[in-house]
């Protein structure tokens, strides 16, 4: 989808369990939600 929007060189650079230990329970664990960094360049 990133490419469909007009970007190239898409790359995920980082993943982490950023919701772990948050003050309130969330649906994040249910779906294995993780924080992610990604970059791309406009074609």
């Amino acid at each position: 989808m990133v490419q469909a929007a007009g970007f190239i060189e898409f790359e995920i650079t980082w993943r982490a369990a950023v919701y772990e230990g948050a003050p309130q329970a969330s649906s994040a664990a249910q779906f294995g939600t993780k924080g992610v960094n990604f970059r791309a360049r406009k074609a």
Partner: protein, 208 residues
Amino acid sequence: MPEQEQVTPATIDVDVDDLRDAIRNEYAAVADEPTRGFHFHTGRPLSRIVGYQPEWLEGISETAVASFAGTGNPFSMGVLQPGERVVDVGCGAGIDSLIAARMVGPDGQVVGVDMTAAMLARAKRAAEEGGAANVEFREGYMEALPVPDGWADVVISNGVLNLTPDKLKALGEMARVLKPTGRLQIGDITIDSPVPEASKQEIDLWTG
């Protein structure tokens, strides 16, 4: 499955107005009561989790830092260069916009866009408190950015793209405001387990 498809699921059939109202309420609470405790980490502790360098926060008003609610680190993929123009999509209380403003310096410009009035008010106050003259905050949606075509060298965003059911539209807007070869540096979320179709229409799942 290619990784980009995991990060950006398909357009989802959900009532956009109801969703936006719920998101505004959630993030207005983060703006007004940042230490209340949410289903995500906030503030300075979150900045450490996602790897912000302490020097990036030096001189940034606590008004912006306390209400930080991102999910990643747009600056980890490359610092911004002096003189660059930056759009911060879903700027919240302005922490990333203000970090960007410092990186691009007085010859650069930053536009932060957010749909939540309480967050924008906090971002504007933080800019004043920090004396940031090269940053402007505008009300708007990620699906219709109030920025001219080809204006930006870099688009950053942090924990926002996951909040729209039309991710292709939002990404298309990011592409529109970028110059050719402009950079996209995004923090967001991904999931390991598919969300059932019926659950995608549950507003509570989007905000919590």
